[in-house]
């Protein structure tokens, strides 16, 4: 079906006001309607776009945006290929499930119609970023991604400081976005086009002086690094993730930050790869520091959601490590880790939400006050174990495969052509060692929350309702399925990664 991608995005954008209008009359309907819209988008994507990509590796739609002197001046396109398809699929899936989860989770809140309307816009922003074929379009969606999420954090954030925190989030991300637009402008000055797939793009960059290219890489890198919250640009993240309403934390951590990872692969590695690899060692160092820093700080947290937030920083380090390595194995590992992290971290945030919803908004997230819940919530406990162990990288769960690929990518990068680079090898070794920290904070969390003596005050705690449990069960199932059969995603991702590796010349 032609136009599927456009219909998908339009559906999400147009859905927002409809949900708002309907929600004004019946609060209950807003959530279900929003869920229906995102589910339809997911269905269109998986039934119409995915088969096309599987068959021909590519599915593009091009539209003329503005004409000038009778010729298209700005075209805008939506491109599903081997790299973007799994990511868009994961975004839509996770957001659909988060929407379903929100229905019950947000049921006690006010202004639900606005919440769900913004949620739909937010989804549209992320999908647009990933599918964009044009730098201006990319930037627009990048900002669309920011604004609804800022409002969502500011309005429904859990602490009294929500507005301050949302402001911090906005300022940081927007600062990153400014770097990105400067990068875009600089690129335009070289190529005279915004279209990523125009021939001028490649030839213009190839002819450009090295210093300009370095500047562009630095600008883009800064912008994406803020989104990914790489050390030391991470300080917006713990506040935002932990104070956002939980379904939004799921999306923020599960897929939004990963848009930065994706953008590095899509823009920096693909078009500026030869400049990017000059800094391989530096980037790997940043990645490893981020991994360890996030992990160490996660160990220090008592607040469940804050612990997960620091853990997200650490996981971003993993993904960046694979990209920084610049090998096909590492890149496909990073891209696959986006999918796996969306599953595992999304699940863990959902668990945090379950605890807050079923126990108490404040007490339910303090790990020191929880304990012995495995007996009361056996299904939630099992799901937590699956998600946690997947993140630790325990087979046969999916996190294992992507982590091994990322590490293998780093080792391959370190092995160089014929002679090992010892600094890079040491970085790779430290990266592997840091998985012990991950195991440490995850298992400690599970022990503190679910094991230990059951407390009397939790006598009446029950499993959450089905609309919260079902999305979690589905994701847990995916973690197991992809662990046994990673080829489901990897056979699409690896060719894309290999193509990038070829462009870099590695």
């Amino acid at each position: 079906m032609s136009g599927s991608l456009l219909i998908m995005i339009v559906l999400l954008v147009v859905g927002a006001p409809i949900v708002y209008a309907v929600g004004k009359r019946s609060t209950k309907a807003a959530g279900w309607l929003a869920f229906t819209f995102s589910l339809i988008s997911l269905t269109i994507f998986s039934l119409s776009v995915v088969p096309a990509v599987l068959k021909e590796n590519l599915y593009v739609e091009t539209y003329t945006w503005a004409e000038m002197f009778g010729a298209p001046f700005l075209t805008f396109g939506l491109r599903a290929d081997n790299l973007s398809t799994p990511i868009v699929g994961m975004i839509l899936l996770l957001c659909t499930l988060a929407t379903l989860y929100s229905i019950e989770y947000m049921s006690r809140e006010h202004n639900q119609e606005l919440y769900f309307a913004l949620l739909l816009l937010y989804i549209a922003g992320m999908v647009g970023v990933v599918l964009a074929t044009n730098l201006v379009q990319f930037y627009i969606f990048w900002e669309i991604m920011l604004i609804p999420s800022w409002l969502l954090v500011a309005r429904w954030g859990t602490s009294e400081k929500a507005q301050l925190i949302a402001f911090k989030y906005f300022m940081f991300t927007h600062l990153g976005a400014i770097c990105i637009i400067l990068g875009i402008a600089a690129t335009w000055s070289l190529t005279a086009t915004f279209d990523l797939y125009a021939t001028e793009m490649v030839s213009g960059i190839a002819a450009a002086p090295a210093s300009t290219l370095k500047l562009i890489v630095a600008l883009f890198m800064l912008g994406f690094a803020v989104k990914m919250a790489l050390f030391p640009l991470h300080s917006w993240l713990p506040d935002t993730y932990s104070e956002a309403p939980t379904p939004i934390s799921v999306i923020l951590s599960g897929v939004m930050s990963e848009c930065g990872v994706y953008a590095i692969a899509r823009i920096l590695l693909t078009f500026f790869g030869t400049t990017f690899v000059i800094y391989t060692t530096t980037f790997m160092t940043i990645a490893v520091i981020t991994m360890i820093y996030g992990g160490v700080l996660a160990l220090a947290q008592k607040d469940f959601k804050r612990m997960l937030a620091y853990s997200s920083i650490s996981q971003m380090g993993y993904m960046f490590l694979g990209l920084a390595a610049g090998t096909a194995t590492g890149i496909s590992g990073s891209m696959f880790h986006i999918v796996n992290h969306a599953i595992s971290k999304g699940l863990l945030f959902m668990v945090a939400g379950v605890l807050m919803h079923q126990i108490d908004q404040i007490k339910g997230r303090d790990m020191d006050k929880l304990g012995g819940l495995a007996g009361k919530m056996p299904i939630t406990a099992t799901i937590t174990l699956i998600a946690g162990l997947s993140m630790v990288g325990v087979p046969p769960l999916s996190g294992f495969v992507s982590e091994v690929l990322i590490f293998a990518g780093a080792f391959i990068a370190a092995s160089g052509a014929g002679s090992w680079s010892i600094p890079m090898l040491i970085l790779a070794v430290i990266a592997v060692i840091s998985t012990v920290i991950t195991a440490g904070y995850i298992l400690w969390m599970i022990r503190r929350v679910f094991f230990g003596p059951p407390r009397e005050e939790f006598e009446n705690v029950k499993e959450p309702p089905l609309t919260m449990l079902a999305p979690m069960a589905l994701l847990a199932f995916l973690a197991i399925l992809l662990g046994f059969y990673p080829d489901l995603v990897l056979r699409i991702l690896v060719p894309a990664a290999e193509e990038i590796e070829k462009l870099i010349g590695g």
């Binding site: 300080s235 160490v296 700080l297 220090a300 194995t329 091994v404 092995s415 094991f451 003596p453 690896v494």
Partner: protein, 697 residues
């Protein structure tokens, strides 16, 4: 073999695990018997590969087709575009280990029917137990490092889940730091997971380094046989000085999994799990995974290092393995002599005996270095693995029967059980004798063959002019023999305190309350009897075992004859063994069996022994050191970084930046007074400035 046996021998238990929650929906009986049945069927598939090894070729029994000769591989694609495969390898070592895991697994599953009867969480138990058996067999039958590592991690996961199986127990914790026994159990599982994870990380680093090297030399592979064939990866590593670090890191995995020094601390705590778990996972199979891995890579190393003239690397590797093995054997035995809990004694003894196996393999490697042949040590190590798997499972299951009957772990709360549990007594006694290496039980033959291998190493080394290795051989032999003395000491102590000593107050109290102690039910003692029988006749299996293990080795020629037994008992080391048995046995007899000397009084009188006792009892303070300095230090560090760096510096810097910007704008705002006069003046000045620029610029 039965069709697809190398796949189904682990696939069936895994399927069984997945089906357990579904079977539980029907009813409890179906679930329990179903779980046991799956493990037995899996074992039958594993067993069907044994004739193939003896025959030297793999035959499908149904079609009669010859599939190939040993070593036989069967592969499928896993990650298609990266060329990563899954595969199974049928060779003596893998089939041997698969049958140890599958066979003991099935037997212990039967025992668990009785032991775990009535536990409310049996679904979880059967799930992890079958999943463990599947993972363990997968580990040993994999044809490549990556898949082996998957199995390696699966068994670690199951171990974690099963150690903390009783996390809901509400009795007070045995250790003051935790509130309930359940919380303590959960902590023990976590400790095991994290400690072994340290080793796993080292292993993963080594695997990935080797993989990257093979990729750079043209043919990326994890495959054992291919690594053996192509030697370029070794040259690349050695050119960068990475060969020795890589193979030492590779040994890190076994050190963690097999609880060798310095990562041995988790195994005693692992005893918090149900006894069936301790028997299967923490005595008979999982902790042997490290020994398996060393046995797996040793022949590969011998071959590739010879081909590349790098036998020094083989020497270093083997020396590390042997020394760590010998030291661990000694270290754990000292702790075993003073432990108070039945299962703790057995846990220390397991660590110690695995040390023996590592020692044997290391000796094999060293002999390979000096004389070009590793078969002697290799055989000794694997043979001891087998006999230990049997007698240690026997000891644990006996201990389980006792714990079940007395409901206490402390052996000083037992005593006099001989009259109440005669069958258990006999079986456990046989197990203890076998452990101590008393002839003619299986432990004697296997341990003796290790001593013999050490002796041969020393002799060969001197003959070929390697004086240092020769001396090392004698030192290792000496440590091994001293350890044997301690082994006998704690074996006698264990049996005497539990069965021979007069009844303790605790037992009398129970009797007064009318809780009499009974023999275990048949479903529990029959597996005991089977294992005891194997322990008695185990030594006779040596000739067949040697033929089996060394099948397909080009340089050794083995025939099934009892020569090997004669060789073992006529080795010069037999006198050392007898001396050691006297050294350990006589004091143990006086202290514990005849009770001529009261051990408590003896310690009171001799300050030196009291200090040694306390040093051993506190596990050489290694455990405390790890907990306080490494774990505690790390948590303190992370808190400090959070408080003083992340919050105090980075976050505060951001807020400070925001404050500066705001103050600046506040200050600047003052210039925007809104007064029309000022505005007009400013505008005029601006226009003049522009005009001047245009005129003179």
């Amino acid at each position: 073999m039965l069709p697809l046996a190398p796949w189904l021998c682990w696939g069936i238990p895994v399927i069984g695990a997945i089906l357990t929650p579904l079977l539980a929906k029907i009813n409890h009986k179906v679930r329990d018997y179903g779980a046991v049945l799956f493990s037995i069927v899996g074992f039958i598939f594993g067993l069907s590969m044994v004739p193939d090894i003896f025959a030297g070729q793999v035959v499908n029994w149904f079609t009669g087709k010859v599939l190939g000769s040993i070593p036989y591989e069967s592969k499928v694609v896993w990650i298609s575009k990266l060329g990563i495969e899954m595969g199974v390898l049928v060779d003596p070592l893998s089939v041997f280990m698969a049958n140890i895991a599958g066979g003991l697994g099935a037997l212990i599953m039967v025992y668990a029917l009785g032991y775990m009867h009535g536990d409310p969480d049996l679904t979880r138990y059967w799930f992890f137990k079958n999943f463990f058996i599947g993972g363990m067999v997968l580990l040993v039958i994999s044809n490549n490092f990556l898949q082996m590592f998957i199995g390696w991690e699966i068994v670690g996961l199951c171990s974690y889940a099963l150690i903390g199986f009783w996390h809901k127990k509400k009795e007070p914790s045995p250790v003051p730091d935790y509130k309930t026994e359940g919380e303590y159990n959960a902590m023990c599982g976590m400790k095991a997971f994290i400690t072994t994870r340290v080793g796993d990380v080292a292993l993963l680093i080594a695997i990935l380094t080797i993989y990257a090297s093979t990729l750079r030399t043209g043919n990326p592979t994890f495959n054992f046989l291919e690594l053996r064939e192509q030697v370029e990866w070794v040259r690349l590593l050695v050119a960068n000085g990475l060969l020795i670090p890589t193979i030492i890191l590779l040994f890190g995995g076994p050190v963690g999994k097999s609880a060798q020094f310095p990562l041995h601390v988790w195994l005693p705590e692992a005893m918090a799990g149900p006894t069936t778990v301790s028997a299967l996972i923490h005595a008979a199979t999982m902790v042997k995974a490290g020994v398996y891995l060393v046995a797996r890579v040793l022949p590969i190393f011998v071959e590739v290092f010879e081909a590349t003239n790098l036998t020094n690397a083989l020497c270093t590797f083997s020396l590390v393995v042997a020394c760590i093995g010998a030291f661990t054997a000694f270290l754990a035995a000292t702790m075993g002599m003073v432990a108070r809990e039945v299962k703790k004694v057995l846990a220390y003894s397991t660590i110690s005996q695995i040390g023996y196996m590592m020692l044997a393999l290391g000796i094999g490697g060293l002999t390979g270095y000096v004389a070009g042949e590793i078969a002697e040590g290799y055989y000794a190590g694997t043979f001891h693995l087998m006999s230990h798997a049997v007698f240690k499972a026997l000891l644990f299951l006996s201990a389980g029967a006792i714990l079940h009957a007395t409901e206490t772990k402390d052996m000083f709360e037992m005593g006099g059980l001989k009259q109440y549990m005669p069958i258990t007594y006999k079986c456990m006694f046989i197990g203890a004798l076998s452990l101590a290496g008393i002839p003619p039980f299986s432990g004697f033959w296997s341990k003796e063959s290790i001593f013999d291998a050490a002796w041969v190493l020393a002799e060969e080394a001197y003959q070929h002019g390697y004086a240092i290795i020769g001396a090392t051989g004698y030192i290792l032999l000496f440590i091994a023999v001293i350890t044997a003395a301690m082994t006998l000491f704690y074996s006698i102590r264990l049996i005497a305190i539990i069965f021979i000593w007069p009844e303790s107050e605790y037992i009398k109290e129970r009797k007064r309350r009318g809780e009499h102690i009974h023999e275990a039910p048949p479903v529990m003692w029959v597996p005991l009897a089977v294992l005891a029988a194997v322990s008695v006749i185990g030594g006779l299996l040596a000739p067949a075992f040697q033929v089996f293990m060394l099948k397909g080795w080009e340089r050794v020629d083995v025939h099934a004859s009892f020569e090997i037994l004669v060789k073992t008992v006529t080795s010069p080391t037999i006198f050392m063994t007898l001396g050691a048995l006297a050294l350990g046995g006589i004091p143990a007899y006086y202290f514990y069996w005849s009770r001529k000397i009261d051990p408590e009084e003896f310690l009171e009188k001799h300050g030196f022994f009291r200090a040694v006792h306390s040093f051993f009892y506190n596990r050489w303070y290694i455990n405390d050191f790890y907990m306080k300095v490494i774990v505690g230090g790390f948590i303190k560090l992370s808190n400090a970084v959070y408080k003083f760096f992340d919050q105090a510096i980075i976050d505060r810097f951001n807020y400070a930046l925001a404050w500066v910007v705001r103050s600046f704008s506040q200050a600047f705002r003052k210039t925007h007074t809104g007064d029309l006069n000022y505005n007009m003046i400013a505008a005029m000045l601006g226009i003049i400035a522009i005009l001047l620029l245009l005129l003179f610029g």
